[in-house]
């Protein structure tokens, strides 16, 4: 997928960087809304160097958990700690998130990249260079001047992932980024994610796609009704899940 002009992005992804903000810990994390406890006392520690996949049935609290970890919403109780401390400005700048439905500005493809980079403190020239290289890396150079919203679903999501990675995050949260994509587009996104992971970017991915989870995961967090039902190495989780609900989920049986 990357084309020949993706120099900077390729270089960036070839460098394995030590993490300055991990581990990420959730301590007795609780989120309540409308009198319901949607996240129910989650304790979790995510370390650098492995790809974490979050799974669970609808309503398990996966997206909420990601938003809490990323700092988009405040917990009702408990805390999210980065290297033992609450997130500060530096920590917030070293993480990025890709949403299930890519939220693209009503601007051109390159302007979407440029906007995100400028917002994160890159100079005009740096933003231009990075945008060009990351668009090339994502195979979107030919679309640079087109309105972002006329791209196909797969291209839009590639743009969203490229935009997030162009900021150089140490942690990349992805909330079902391929949920509505065809297999080819899905593999395209996965290729970018895998390369980012190989360069040292911590991946925290939500998916319902068990095949995708098997392809990507080093470790799996299985949520059920706002609690961590299982948290294990991927091989263990898929071969011998320690939870009956996780086993039922993997086998495609309904988990209520």
């Amino acid at each position: 997928m990357p084309d020949a002009t993706a120099g900077f992005a390729e270089q960036a992804l070839d460098v394995r960087r030590p993490s300055a903000i991990l581990p990420l810990e959730a301590r007795n994390l609780v989120f309540e809304a409308g009198g319901r406890r949607l996240i129910d006392g989650i304790d979790l520690r995510l370390d650098a160097g492995c790809r974490t996949v979050v799974m669970g049935p609808n309503g398990a609290g996966k997206s909420l958990l990601l938003r809490l970890l990323h700092g988009l919403i405040e917990p009702s109780a408990g805390s999210v700690l980065w290297q033992g401390k609450p997130a500060d400005r530096t920590v917030r700048r070293r993480q990025a998130m890709v949403f299930q439905r890519p939220v693209l500005l009503r601007r051109s493809v390159s302007a979407n990249m440029h906007h995100a980079l400028r917002a994160n403190g890159f100079s005009r020239q740096e933003a231009r260079d990075r945008a060009r290289d990351w668009l090339a890396y994502a195979g979107l150079s030919g679309f640079a001047d087109q309105p972002a919203r006329v791209l196909s679903g797969g291209e839009q999501q590639r743009l969203a992932v490229a935009r997030a990675l162009s900021l150089g995050p140490e942690v990349l949260f992805l909330d079902e980024p391929t949920a509505s994509l065809d297999p080819a587009s899905t593999l395209g996104i996965e290729e970018i994610i895998q390369k980012a992971a190989a360069s040292g970017t911590k991946i925290v991915l939500i998916t319902h796609d068990i095949g995708q989870a098997r392809r990507i995961a080093d470790e799996v967090v299985f949520l059920y009704r706002g609690r961590v039902e299982a948290f294990d190495q991927a091989l263990c989780f898929f071969d011998a899940p320690g939870s009956a609900k996780a086993r039922a989920f993997i086998e495609g049986r309904i988990v209520l």
Binding site: L72, M97, V103, R106, A119, N120, P147, A148, L167
Partner: protein
């Protein structure tokens, strides 16, 4: 009183001949209303956007106030500005009463709430869509507002158009603070009112036709621009 056909004939004659008085009145009307809309946009858009994005004490009251002010009777606005600018008023020393500037001020007073209230609704909808993404990118406060205003630019043009429609068609307020002085503060609407009362329907009709034509032109232009933006997925 002229008959109807003669009045129309005279009106088209004035328009086609490029009558100097007519042109002067039209130009002053455009100058006053476009200036008022520009100032109202500079004030109303940030206020509307801030009310859409920020949560602060009194926000609900501000929204109610803006919505209420949308229906402010022009003569009341005219009276208030008149009191401010008259010799006995706090701004009397500026000597602005019965000038084009006074008319711009009063039209700004009338148009700003319309632009602020409509912009607030529009920006609030856009903010709902963008909120998490912008916060994820680290944008806060004024930079969020700037992003939303830019991305809503084509829709906001329609808002500005609504303001222009209100401004250019207004008569009660501008006649109070402008005085309808020939070659100084006489605009299309005040001239139409004056000439109609005098029974000189030719000039009044000519101005009425131009007023409607302008309205069609501006509406059509903005509609075309918006349609282009929608086609290009920028709106």
């Amino acid at each position: 009183m002229q008959d109807f056909g003669a009045a129309f004939g005279l009106a088209f004659g004035l328009i086609l001949s490029g009558d100097a008085d007519l042109a002067e009145i039209v130009m002053l009307s455009l100058q006053v209303s476009l200036s008022a809309v520009a100032v109202a946009c500079m004030i109303g858009l940030p206020i509307g956007a801030a009310a859409a994005v920020y949560r602060f004490p009194g926000r609900a009251a501000l929204v109610v106030f803006m919505n209420t002010m949308m229906g402010l009777p022009p003569v009341v606005a005219g009276l208030l500005v008149y009191l401010m600018l008259s010799n006995a008023g706090p701004l009397g020393g500026l000597g602005l009463l019965y000038t084009a500037t006074a008319m711009i001020i009063v039209q700004t007073v009338l148009v700003t709430p319309i632009i602020a209230a409509l912009a607030r609704q529009l920006i609030a909808d856009l903010h709902t869509e963008y909120d998490e993404q912008l916060r994820s990118l680290g944008l806060r406060g004024i930079r969020t507002i700037a992003t939303l205003l830019w991305d809503g630019r084509y829709s906001l043009l329609t808002v500005a158009l609504a303001g222009f429609g209100r401004a250019v068609a207004e008569v009660g307020a501008v006649i109070i603070v402008g005085g309808n002085i020939n070659h100084a503060t006489r605009v299309m609407t005040t001239t139409i009112a004056l000439e109609t009362s005098k029974g000189d329907l030719g000039l009044a009709l000519a101005l009425g036709i131009i007023l409607i034509g302008l309205s069609v032109l501006v509406n059509g232009g903005v509609l075309a621009l918006r349609a282009t933006a929608v086609r290009s997925a920028y709106a």
